[in-house]
C-alpha cells in the first residue's frame, strides 16, 4: 500500500510565518500606523507636551518649531487661541480611536447577525432583511448621521450610535452574500448530513469561514468610522465643544488657513494616515488569515 501519511506539508510554527509573509508590506505598514495611533491615544497624557485646552493668548498662532518664529515648547505651533497643536492632535486621536473601535465593533456584530439570518433562512426572511438594507442604504449616510446626532444630542454616544445605525448594513450585505456562497459548498452539506442544526452549522461551520472577510471589513469600517467622526465634528455636532477632535481642528483652522495653514494641514495628515493604516491593516489581515488562497 502506498503510504499517503508522508504527504504532509508545513507544521504549526511555519504556518504563522507563512501567513506573515503572505501579509507582506501592507500588513506591516498597516500594523505600524494603527499601532502608533493606538499607542498615542493610549498614552496621550504622558506624551502630550501641554494640556490640550490650555489657552495662552500671548503665544497664539505660533508656527511649528522648525519654522522661523516658532518656539521649541510648541513643536507644531499653536492655534488662534494659543493652544498647543501637537497636544490637541494627540488628544483628538483618543476620540477618533474610541469612536472607531466601539462603533465599528457594534456595527459588525449587528450587521453579521442580520447577514447570517438573511443568508441562512433565505425566502421571505431574506427578502425582508434585504429590502430593509436597500431602503436604509438609499439614505445619504452623512445626512442620516447629522439628523441622528441632532435628534439624540451631541456627544460621544450619539456619534457612535449614528455610525452604528448607518454602517451595520455594510456588514449585513457582505455577510449575507458570503453566507449564501458558503452554504452552497460541499462542507456545508456535509455538516447537514452529520445532523447539525441550522444554528449549529452557522456557528460552527459558516462563521469561522467568514472571519477573514469580516476582519478585513472591520478594519476598513474603523477607517470609515474615523472619517464620519471627523465630518460630524467638523460640522460641530460631535463630542462636547472643548474636547479636541481632528474635525473640530480643521473647522477652526479653515478660518485662518492663509495665516496659519499648519493648523488645518496637520489634522488632515493625521486622518489620512489613520485611514490608510486601517485599510492596509485590513488588506494584510485578509491575506494573513486566509489559510488557503481559496478565491
Amino acid at each position: 500500500m502506498v503510504d499517503l501519511a508522508h504527504d504532509l506539508s508545513v507544521g504549526h510554527s511555519s504556518r504563522l510565518v507563512a501567513g506573515l509573509k503572505r501579509g507582506g508590506a501592507r500588513l506591516w505598514i498597516g500594523v505600524a500606523l494603527v499601532g502608533i495611533l493606538l499607542l498615542v491615544s493610549l498614552l496621550a497624557p504622558l506624551i502630550a507636551p501641554h494640556d490640550p485646552i490650555e489657552q495662552d493668548l500671548m503665544s497664539a498662532q505660533l508656527p511649528p518649531a522648525w519654522i522661523n518664529g516658532g518656539e521649541p515648547a510648541y513643536p507644531f505651533g499653536t492655534d488662534s487661541l494659543g493652544r498647543c497643536v501637537l497636544s490637541r492632535l494627540i488628544y483628538s486621536a483618543r476620540t477618533a480611536v474610541v469612536v472607531a473601535l466601539i462603533a465599528a465593533s457594534l456595527a459588525a456584530v449587528i450587521g453579521i447577525a442580520f447577514g447570517l439570518i438573511a443568508g441562512s433562512f433565505g425566502g421571505w426572511v431574506d427578502q425582508l432583511t434585504s429590502r430593509l438594507i436597500d431602503v436604509w442604504m438609499a439614505f445619504p449616510p452623512v445626512l442620516l448621521s447629522i439628523v441622528l446626532a441632532a435628534v439624540i444630542g451631541a456627544g460621544l454616544t450619539s456619534v457612535i450610535a449614528a455610525i452604528v445605525v448607518v454602517d451595520w448594513t455594510r456588514f449585513a450585505r457582505v455577510v449575507r452574500a458570503e453566507t449564501m456562497t458558503q452554504l452552497r459548498r460541499d462542507y456545508a452539506a456535509a455538516a447537514r448530513v452529520i445532523g447539525l442544526s441550522r444554528g449549529g452549522i452557522m456557528w460552527l461551520e459558516i462563521l469561522p469561514n467568514l472571519v477573514p472577510l469580516t476582519v478585513t471589513l472591520l478594519a476598513v469600517e474603523m477607517g470609515i468610522a474615523i472619517l464620519v467622526e471627523v465630518i460630524l465634528s467638523f460640522v460641530g455636532i460631535s463630542v462636547a465643544g472643548d474636547t479636541p477632535t481632528w474635525g473640530g481642528m480643521i473647522a477652526e483652522g479653515r478660518q485662518i488657513v492663509h495665516q496659519a495653514p499648519w493648523i488645518m494641514a496637520l489634522p488632515i495628515g493625521c486622518i489620512i494616515l489613520s485611514v490608510i493604516g486601517f485599510n492596509l491593516l485590513g488588506d494584510g489581515l485578509r491575506l494573513l488569515l486566509d489559510p488557503v488562497q481559496r478565491r
Binding site: 500500500m1 502506498v2 503510504d3 499517503l4 501519511a5 508522508h6 504527504d7 504532509l8 506539508s9 508545513v10 504549526h12 433565505g122 459548498r185 460541499d186 462542507y187 452539506a189 456535509a190 455538516a191 447537514r192 448530513v193 452529520i194 445532523g195 447539525l196 442544526s197 449549529g200 460552527l204 461551520e205 469561522p208 469561514n209 472571519v211 489559510p291 488557503v292 481559496r294
Partner: protein, 295 residues
C-alpha cells in the same frame, strides 16, 4: 427482517408548475442490513438524487412528489426534523463525492471529527479527540494525533477521503451512502479507498448504497446492484448475475462500453446513440411534451 433502507415509488421533480421535470420516476429499492448495493447509471440518471433524497439534501428547487423512504422501518419523509437530524451522521452516514471540498477549509481535522462525536455521543472534548485519533488510525492514517492538528489543505486528497470515511463510520451507522467516493481520486488511491470502505463495512456491519458509474467498482465490492437510467430502475439483482447475463439492452451497452485490460481498445463499444434515444424517448417524451406545454 426490516430492511435498512426501503424506497418505494419515489418520484422527485425539479422545478415547479409546467416547467417541472421528473428526475426520479417511481424508483423502488430495498437494502438489507449489511448489504452492499451498487447503484449504477450514466450522468443524469438520477443516482445522486436518490442518495440526496434519502439524506434530505435535495436542492431547493427539487421536491419529492410521491413515494416512501423508510430507514429501518421508520418513515424518513414523515419524520419530524429534530428526529431526522438525530439519525443523520449517527445511524445514516454519507461518504461524499469530493474530498477536496467536503471538509471545512478553515477548521482543523481534529475539530471536524470531534464535532461529529460530541454532537451525537455527547462526549467531552478530550475524549472526542482521543476517539478521533483512534478513528483515523482505523483508516490507516499514520501519526493520527499530528493529522488531527492539520488543516484540510495540508493533507492529500486520498487522506481527506479517508478522514471522511472515518467520519462516516464514526458512530457505527447502519446505513452508509457512498456518493461516488472514488471519482475524484486517482486510480491507485481508488483501490485503497475501496478496500477501506469494505473493511470498515464488515467491522461495523453497515449496509452501503454505493453510487457510482464505474462497473468495475461495483463488480469488486457490491454483492447486489441496481441499474438506473433516466430516473427509472432498469434492472437489479446479484452483481455477478447481472454482469454475466444482463437482461436489459441498456445494461449490455453499458457493459460493452467499459474498458477492460483483457480486451483490445478497439473492442470498446460506446453506448449506441439510437439505443439511448429510444430509451430517452420512451422515458422522457411525454414529460418533455408536458413540460413544453401547448405549442
Amino acid at each position: 427482517m426490516t430492511p435498512a433502507l426501503f424506497i418505494q415509488g419515489l418520484r422527485v421533480t425539479i422545478g415547479a408548475g409546467t416547467s417541472a421535470a421528473n428526475v426520479l420516476r417511481g424508483v423502488s429499492l430495498e437494502l438489507q442490513p449489511g448489504e452492499v448495493r451498487g447503484l449504477v447509471g450514466e450522468s443524469g440518471a438520477g443516482k445522486s438524487m436518490l442518495g440526496r433524497a434519502v439524506l434530505g439534501l435535495l436542492p431547493a428547487n427539487a421536491a419529492i412528489a410521491a413515494g416512501r423512504i423508510a430507514f429501518e422501518g421508520r418513515d424518513l419523509l414523515a419524520m419530524r426534523e429534530p428526529e431526522r437530524r438525530s439519525l443523520l451522521g449517527r445511524r445514516i452516514a454519507l461518504i461524499p463525492q469530493d474530498p477536496m471540498t467536503s471538509l471545512n477549509p478553515v477548521k482543523r481535522i481534529g475539530a471536524q471529527v470531534a464535532i461529529l462525536l460530541r454532537h451525537h455521543l455527547a462526549s467531552s472534548r478530550r475524549a472526542a479527540l482521543q476517539r478521533a485519533a483512534e478513528l483515523l488510525a482505523e483508516v490507516a492514517i499514520r501519526e493520527p494525533e499530528r493529522v488531527l492538528g492539520l488543516y484540510p489543505h495540508e493533507i492529500s486528497g486520498g487522506m481527506r477521503q479517508r478522514v471522511l470515511i472515518a467520519m462516516a463510520f464514526a458512530c457505527d451507522p447502519s446505513l452508509v451512502i457512498a456518493d461516488e467516493p472514488t471519482t475524484a481520486l486517482d486510480v491507485t488511491v481508488q483501490r485503497q479507498v475501496l478496500q477501506l470502505v469494505e473493511r470498515l463495512r464488515q467491522r461495523h456491519g453497515a449496509a452501503v448504497l454505493f453510487v457510482t458509474h464505474d462497473l468495475g467498482v461495483v463488480a469488486k465490492i457490491c454483492r447486489t446492484m441496481t441499474v438506473l437510467h433516466a430516473g427509472r430502475v432498469l434492472e437489479e439483482g446479484e452483481t455477478a448475475h447481472v454482469l454475466a447475463r444482463p437482461g436489459h439492452p441498456y445494461t449490455r451497452a453499458l457493459l460493452a462500453a467499459t474498458p477492460r485490460a483483457d480486451r483490445p481498445a478497439e473492442a470498446l463499444r460506446p453506448v449506441p446513440p439510437s439505443l439511448i434515444e429510444n430509451l430517452w424517448s420512451e422515458a422522457h417524451q411525454f414529460d418533455r411534451l408536458a413540460a413544453a406545454g401547448p405549442a
